[in-house]
């Protein structure tokens, strides 16, 4: 990471090789089309390259940091594009929309799929209404008041479900690791 921050292109390329796939997958999951996902991924990595963004090891792994930047960029894209409007009319856009086609997998890909299954299992073990508000907020970029309007429930209920859901998810992930 130090070399990336000093502007070494080869180090940056390695960073992309390691995290570009996860970044694109997250962007695609959020924006729902490959062209916009490509824009989001490119913007995120260029912002890392140009700003020599400060990675702080005490705040999580490099992957968590990169995906956090991608998430912010995808939210920006959702809010500035019509994508949000199109998806608002139908909840299908928020659900997991894509299973990658079966193909030959590398060990790294297999490990990522396993990790994804592990987190998804924990997420799916939550009560459905908690999973729903969490996914709408995180992957859909909707505010609590928008979610309350969409699901026709009080804002306080939405906030409560988010808090409870995250707490249960945290415990679920911890149990799986233990």
């Amino acid at each position: 990471m130090r070399l990336v921050q000093e502007g070494h292109p080869r180090a940056f390329e390695l960073l992309y090789d390691r995290h570009g796939g996860a970044a694109f997958s997250l962007a695609y999951r959020m924006v729902g089309n490959r062209v916009t996902a490509e824009d989001v991924s490119q913007e995120a990595f260029l912002s890392i390259w140009r700003s020599k963004a400060r990675y702080q090891p005490d705040r999580g792994s490099v992957r968590t940091w990169v995906l956090g930047i991608v998430h912010h960029r995808a939210i920006d894209a959702l809010r500035r594009n019509l994508v949000h409007e199109k998806r608002r009319s139908s909840a299908e856009g928020i659900e997991e929309r894509h299973e990658a086609p079966e193909r030959e997998q590398t060990d790294v890909e297999a490990a990522r799929r396993e990790e994804a299954r592990h987190v998804r299992d924990a997420l799916e073990n939550l009560p459905e209404e908690q999973t729903r508000v969490i996914e709408l907020a995180y992957f859909g970029g909707f505010s609590h008041s928008q979610i309350a309007e969409m699901l026709q429930m009080p804002i306080g209920t939405v906030k409560g479900r988010m808090r409870l859901g995250l707490e249960k998810l945290r415990k679920g992930l911890k149990e799986k690791v233990a």
Partner: protein
């Protein structure tokens, strides 16, 4: 910190971590986090759950062209950085040469020639004694303007097309359409094309579809009469083209 305030705000922690609070609420909650160790500890705990969410996404293959175009931008910026660095730190000898030429040009004016010769001498002494590099202060030559009466440079959305360049070449009489030439565009995935549109008044009229090669170069025709038109724009659309632009244009040629 008051208990009432804590009770009022503690429920916001999940929405805060998920980015779902409105801006004013977020500011209020962040101020509360600074003074409430209970909420601050809870936020630290729940943050691990939020950070796990992107890992629940099943990997999808990323487009091969993405890395190529990203690294092309990076390499271009490295080259520009190196050029800028070389411009700033050129050897004094280079500057001395320039001064000598200036002195020669001033040779017909004895007073100025003497002053210039002194500068050359001083520069030579500095070079020999310390081998220092001098900061080049002369302005670079301005890029040559290529504008002609029949070529209009396209303006690109640099966020989405960082390396894009191109122009619209108009025939002598605008009634015979024009040709749009582009460089540095990303080759699109199968199933997508670039679409050219002509804007006139409130209307947006499709003109043609095109793709670009691996080198990012492409060309397309603007068939309609350009007389009275406002702009030519390009968007990315599904194969076969769209009836109306589905995104903001990636390039615009204002007419």
């Amino acid at each position: 910190m008051s208990v009432e305030r804590h009770e009022l705000l503690q429920e916001d922690v999940g929405a805060y971590l998920l980015g779902a609070l409105e801006e004013s609420e977020r500011d209020r909650f962040e101020a509360h986090l600074n003074e409430c160790p209970v909420c601050s500890d809870e936020a630290d705990l729940l943050r691990t759950a939020v950070q796990a969410l992107p890992r629940s996404v099943m990997p999808v293959p990323s487009p091969a062209g993405l890395k190529t175009s990203l690294m092309a931008v990076v390499q271009a910026e490295v080259r520009e950085r190196d050029r800028a660095s070389a411009r700033r730190f050129r050897p004094v000898a280079w500057t001395t040469e320039r001064l000598k030429r200036s002195a020669a040009a001033l040779g017909r004016r004895p007073g100025l020639a003497m002053a210039a010769a002194s500068v050359v001498l001083l520069a030579g002494v500095v070079t020999g004694a310390a081998g220092l590099y001098a900061i080049e202060t002369a302005t670079d030559e301005q890029p040559q303007r290529q504008a002609s009466s029949r070529t209009i440079v396209a303006k690109f959305d640099k966020t989405r097309v960082p390396l894009g360049s191109g122009s619209l070449v108009l025939p002598p009489d605008r009634e015979n359409g024009a040709v749009l030439r582009v460089h540095g565009l990303r080759p699109l995935e199968q199933g997508s094309v670039y679409q050219v549109w002509l804007k006139r008044g409130g209307e947006t009229i499709s003109q043609s579809l095109f793709t670009v090669g691996e080198d990012g170069d492409g060309a397309a025709a603007v068939a309609d009469d350009l007389e009275g038109a406002d702009a030519v724009v390009v968007t990315r659309e599904p194969a076969g083209g769209a009836k109306a632009p589905s995104e903001n244009s990636i390039l615009t040629v204002a007419l």
